[in-house]
Structure formats: structure tokens, C-alpha cells
Symmetry: none
Subunit: 440 residues, 2 copies
């Protein structure tokens, strides 16, 4: 089955609202195994809506519209659908009664224009709207289906779930199931080279890479007759990808780096404290976005001033003086300081230049040092980021969380390797896990 | 001038991401006075992208695409645009150099596939992308213009603002100038009631309210023959709105609550330290997003554990014991503690229950106390938010920043009023500036 979505509303074309309905409906159709190749947005304009509808019906079996079911003269989705399908509009009495009761309950006066909301194309099914006045419409003409849903997401989503999804499930043959692998520490193009053979050869499941800020996602999508078959196909490809990519995969589906780190710490019964300078609290913010983070996260300090670094983290004044606040030495003292002061298992220290001011030739904007201190572990890493202040903050926290994740995993899976790698006092890591020493 | 937007990306049609680019571009086009009647979304599919492009070019003068500029074989927007416009793709050396440097700076290996990102349709202008590798394209063919922008909003938006908007401004007849007033502490419907007379009567400038998380924007848009005329029209309406709305307006255009607060503190030569529990660092993160925040922001502490509250902020153990960590008393001790310890002029303390766990009947999820301590000032405010963890964090920081802003402004403009209002030791503020006392 093939579908198109038509979003109706001048407010969409003016950019006054973001079309979250289209994303929701797209997800739902994908999960039903219904193919979606086009989405169109038009304003509250009869001619353009008609044209979009005719065009969509020339290509697909199912058209879903959102919006244009309100009481005003602008709202004309049902009128246009009825005209295009050549069906008269008829009054749906239960809907009229619902609308009357709705206004009575709200203590508001029902206007004549609301009566129009109870009209539906003849032969169609009125879809109840417990969250508003406008009923939806599900109407068939020959082999084709048109579904009209109200614009407000709080009305559209429950209506789709309650009435449209069950109906469409009956129509669709087979199922489509997706899962997403999340990777950190590799760029999209590098990843594409590493798994080029998979990307080239895959048809079922399909495999698609997707880059976003500081990470890459791999979506695996299988078609099959049953849920179990689709999941088995996905599982098989996932296993092959895991064998190839190993630690680069940090999680699946709704995982975030922070949720994975919190989970690892919980599992180990360990705690964390963080000391941030250039990231300004973003790392603590991300960690505390994870429900239940309080069991592993003791505290964060944002030591913007040098005095704060000395007072809260016991960073020695002479080190700041000699090396500068943005230095590997200070990052290390911050990580070890916050760990010692908080009495946690792990400590993180971050210092850098987020810009746009504050850079110099030796220490340009984008230079960041971050350090990880833990049981038998003391690491410092240097990075040079590009981008604006927000991006530098974001990428730094991404890299820090990934370093902690890898350290926790490496430690767990191979303590000997960890001891070997990390027993060298202050080491530097750069570009993956290449290690070199530098005398502090 | 008429435009269409084509959003390209299979991830859009699968509903994996919401198309915020389309809303952004729609807003921008509206502000430029360019008419937008259609938006289309297609996947990473050559045939359907070509069809959408041909159709759009049959109707309008300007087509803007987003997405499909990445390095993989899937990414084919420029290839299709070049084919439809019948222009060869040529290598743009400065872009290639930029991409090479980008990878060098990141310490990552550039692959052959990235080279393709430096190709642009002959005769087109490559639009620099400081936030990524893919340059954009601005290309004319006859009277028509095609603009290709990268998919990530963090790349698309600055590229549009820096390069596309100025170019399109030259095209449109007359000028359209917009300014945005930003308001905090009032809901959209309440605002609409308060300025209903303005909203009903306005045609030039037009006036449009726009709600987003924890604030409302008012866009004023004038058409005129010259910049000066348009700005004068906007200025006149702005003055009337300011007379009506007063302190509710916190800023204009690109201002944020945090940038306004940092500016006010800078002007007064005062400093700030913050102590957060339920907001987990988000307040510090927002403040440190403002370039130059380091001159006023001394430190932040994220005291998730009770021990951290006692150690870092000297919150008395017996107060935590007797009143609970989420209490007006603890919020007050946090604000005063961080102010005293840091030696800053102002201190903020936040404690609450961000959920989803941790709530009780007396202290439900969404209950937040925040306190402001400063010269002669000690305020505590109680709020009950709804929504998820992220929303509660966000709304709390919004309310805290607004409280600090209003206090700084009130103090500046009318010190006597401030002393009157704030000299009552521990006071509670709720719902605007209604004040009552509560014995702690």
C-alpha cells in the first residue's frame, strides 16, 4: 500500500508552527509497512488543496490530510475531499450532538459555523474526537481511501491511534520493522567506507546511515510477513554490524550517550562528579536529563573563574599561573580534584576556549582539554573543534561521554588492557585510542 | 516573487526527524515578502526529487531545497538540480580546500566521497558552511533561482541568514523589514487579549504572535519603499506595544533571556553564581552560552546529592532533614550559600522534582522552588510545572532568568520600590509579582 500526506494550513506556510503531525503520521505509516513517497503542504486555499489531492490520488491508494476541519470559512478540507471524490456532504447527527455537548460542557456558546463541523462525505465514517469538536473522516471510494484528521496534534494523534491505525492494519500486507544503531567516534563518510559492502548489498533489511551532531545512526529496516520474521532479519544484520564495528556502537533506538553512561555506572555501582569550564554546565545538564541519574551523579561544578577552580577543585594557583587555565595540567587537576572532593569513583575535568573571543595563536578558539580520573585511571585528551560556541560545547560533551563510556566498557571487558594502557601516569589520548605520553 | 520549498530525505518520510527547516525557511520567506504556496517532501530518490523540482520550477521563481548534500551515494540533490537546470557539475576548489582543512582540524581522514561535496552546478555560487563540510549552492538559470541548503538545521540556518537572505532581499521589490519582540511571563492567549485592538487593526506593519517554550514572540513586519520608512513604521508600533506591555517585553530579535541577563549584569558591574539541583546544570549552560559570560558568571554548582548541598553551599543538615531537599528553605539556603561562598553579588538556588520518579502527594513531580539572593534581596518562588523532565528543567530556568531580569530592572529603575518589596525577609513570589510572606 502506498500513501501520501497532505498538510493543510496557511500557518504552516508562514512557518508559525512546525509540522509535527507529518512526522508522527510518517512514523506510523512506516510501522504499518505502508510506503510513503511524498508529503505536501498547502495553505487554506481551495484550488491548491484540490490540485494536491487530485495529484496524490493519481499516484497512491491512501491519502491522509491534516488540518482544515475547523468551523471557519477558511477550513475547507472536507468540502474539497467531497468534491474531488464526487460525494455529497451529509450531516452526521451523533457528531452534531457531540459538538453541542462539548460547548455546553465548556460553558461556551456554540455558533452556527460549528454545525458545519458535523458534515461528512456520504458513505464515510466519522471518527470521534474526544479532544475537540471536529470529527475526523475515513472514506473509501473504489479501491482508494481518504482520511481527514484535525490539525491540532493533541486531537490528531489520539484519533489516528484509536481509529485509523486499526483500520489500516487490516489493509496492509506484511510488516515493516526498524531498529537504529547509534555510533560515536566515527564520521559518516568513514563509516560508509568501513561498511561499504553491507551498504551496497542490502535490500532486505535495508541499511541507511544518518549523521547528526557528533554521532552517526545506522537504520536497519526489514519487511516480512510477521513481526518475528522482520525482527529476526534485523537481528541478523545487527549482529554482523556489531562484529564489524564493535565499540563504535554505543547504543540502539532511543539510547543517548548520557543514558548509556548512567546505565554503565549504575551496573557497576559507581559514582561520578564533573568539573566544567568551557562546557559551562552542559555535561551536567545532559547527565541529569537521564531519569534516575541521581543514583550515580553526585555533583557538578562549573568553575568559570580561576578562583572557583582553586577553591572548589584545589587546582594549584601556580599551575594555573604557569600553564594557563586552558591546559592539560589544569584539566587533569580539575578531574582529580572534583573526584577527590566529591569522593566519587570517577571525576571529569574540562577546560577550553569556546569562543568567539579568548583565543590566541597558541591556544585558538576550539582548543579543548578534557580529563578523566578514576580507579587507576588518569587520562587527558586534547581536541581542536570548529564551529560556534554552542557546537564546541556540544561536541566536547559528546567526546567526554564517549571517553567515559569506552573506559567503563574496556575496564569491564578487559581489565588487563586497561591497566596496561592507563597505568602510565598522565597519558594523552587522541584520535581513538592511540596513546602517547607527555611530561606534565 | 513566489517560492517553493523541497525537503529531501528518506529520514523525513520515515518520521525520524521533524522538518524544522521547512518552518524556519517559511518564516524567513514570509518576512522577505516572498509568497510560499507549496512545500514538498521527497525521499533520497532521484526520480521523485527530479519530478518535484520540475514541477516546482513550472510554478515559481525560487526553489529552496534542504538536505541531500552529504558525501554518500544517497545524497543527490546537487546532481539532480544540475541535471534539471542542464548545467554540468564543476569542482569548486575553495570548498574542496575547506573540506580538506575541516578534516585535518578534526584529526580525521577525508575520504574520496567527501570530494563530491565540493562539486557545484556551473555558474552557481558556493555558499560557505562554517558548521560542516557541505557548501550550499545559489544558482540562477534565466529568471529562476535554485538554492540548495544542507539538511542539519545548525548548518542550514546560519547559511540562510548569512548568504541567502541578503541575496533574496535584493530581488524583492520594495522592502520588508521585521522585528521581533520577545516576551516572558505571559501566555499567548492572555497576550492576544491584552493587545487585541492592535492585532485586529494592523495591516502595515502586520503583527503576529508566536508561542514557543516558556515565551511568546511578537513579529512586527512593515512593507515600504525604503529601509528607513519600514523601520520607522516598525518603530512606531513597537513604541505603542512597549507602552502597553512594559516589563513583559524582555528583548528583541536574537536576544535570549540569558543574553539580556548577562548584559544587565555587565552594565551594573555585578557578578553571579548559581546552585542547581533539579535543573542539573541547564541554567549554567544557558548563561555560559552567552559570549563573554565569563565577566559576570563566577561559578555554578550542581548539587544533586544532599552531601554536595551541605559541603559546597553550607546548607544546614538539620534544615534538609526537617524540611526535605525540595523545600523553599533549602532553595533559599542554596542561593545565599552559593552567593556567600563565591563572593558574588547575586546567587540563585534551585531545587525541585523533575520526575518521572521521586514525586509524592505533598511534593509532586513538577514542584520547583527557586531563590534569588542579592544585595538586600532574598526571594523564594514556588512553581508547579507540568510536562516531562526536559520541559520542567527548561521552564524552571526560564522563570529563574526572568525573575533575575525583573529584579535587576526594577532595582535599576526604582530602587525604592525594590527595597519596599524585597526588604521583607524571606518572601514568596507567585504569579507575577504578587508577594506574600511565609514564616520559614
Amino acid at each position: 500500500m502506498r500513501a501520501e500526506i497532505i498538510s493543510v494550513g496557511t500557518e504552516l506556510l508562514l512557518g508559525e508552527i512546525v509540522d509535527t503531525n507529518a512526522a508522527f503520521l510518517s512514523q506510523e505509516l512506516a510501522a504499518l509497512g505502508i510506503e510513503l513517497y511524498h508529503r505536501t503542504t498547502v495553505g487554506d486555499n481551495e484550488q491548491r488543496l484540490r490540485q494536491a489531492l487530485v495529484e496524490a490520488l493519481s499516484r497512491v491508494d491512501l491519502v491522509i490530510t491534516s488540518g482544515g476541519l475547523g468551523p471557519t470559512a477558511d477550513d475547507l478540507t472536507k468540502e474539497v475531499v467531497a468534491a474531488v471524490l464526487d460525494l455529497p456532504l451529509v450531516l452526521h447527527r451523533p457528531s452534531l450532538q457531540w459538538i453541542e455537548e462539548y460547548f455546553a460542557r465548556m460553558g461556551r456558546k456554540m455558533t452556527a459555523s460549528n454545525r458545519k463541523q458535523a458534515l461528512i462525505p456520504e458513505g464515510g465514517v466519522a471518527l470521534p474526537n474526544p479532544n475537540g469538536t471536529a470529527p475526523g473522516v475515513f472514506v473509501r471510494k473504489g479501491e482508494q481511501i481518504v482520511v481527514c484528521l484535525p490539525g491540532p496534534p493533541g486531537e490528531l494523534m489520539p484519533m489516528f491511534r484509536s481509529y485509523v491505525r486499526p483500520e489500516l492494519q487490516k489493509e496492509s500486507r506484511g510488516v515493516i520493522r526498524s531498529r537504529v544503531l547509534r555510533l560515536c567516534g566515527v564520521g559518516e563518510s568513514e563509516l560508509v567506507e568501513r561498511i561499504g559492502d553491507f551498504l551496497a548489498g542490502q535490500t532486505n533489511p535495508t541499511l541507511a546511515p544518518l549523521a547528526s551532531e557528533g554521532e552517526v545512526r545506522l537504520r536497519i529496516t526489514a519487511r516480512a510477513q510477521t513481526d518475528a520474521e522482520a525482527e529476526a532479519l534485523n537481528g541478523e544484520l545487527e549482529a554482523k554490524l556489531r562484529a564489524r564495528l564493535g565499540l563504535l556502537i554505543y547504543g540502539t533506538d532511543e539510547d543517548t550517550l548520557e543514558s548509556v553512561v548512567v546505565k554503565l555506572l549504575k551496573r557497576r555501582g559507581e559514582t561520578l562528579a564533573v568539573a566544567e569550564s568551557c562546557t559551562g554546565g552542559l555535561l551536567a545538564d545532559r547527565i541529569t536529563d537521564v531519569p534516575g541519574a541521581s543514583t550515580v551523579f553526585d555533583r557538578g561544578v562549573v568553575t568559570y573563574s580561576n578562583r572557583a577552580k582553586m577553591e572548589l577543585l584545589q587546582v594549584p594557583a601556580d599551575v594555573i599561573e604557569a600553564k594557563g587555565a586552558v591546559s592539560p595540567e589544569v584539566a587533569r587537576f580539575m578531574a582529580e580534584g572534583v573526584r577527590r572532593v566529591a569522593g566519587t569513583d570517577w571525576g571529569i575535568g574540562i577546560t577550553g576556549i569556546a569562543g568567539p573571543g579568548g583565543g590566541s595563536r597558541e591556544k585558538p578558539v576550539g582548543l579543548v582539554y578534557f580529563a578523566l580520573a578514576g580507579p587507576g585511571v588518569s587520562l587527558v585528551r586534547e581536541e581542536h573543534w570548529s564551529g560556534d560556541r554552542r557546537k564546541i560545547k556540544r561536541r566536547t560533551t559528546q567526546a567526554v561521554l564517549d571517553l567515559l563510556r569506552r573506559t567503563l566498557l574496556t575496564d569491564q571487558e578487559c581489565p588487563a588492557r586497561r591497566r596496561l594502557a592507563f597505568s602510565l601516569p598522565p597519558v594523552f589520548l587522541a584520535g581513538g585510542f592511540f596513546i602517547w605520553e607527555k611530561k606534565l
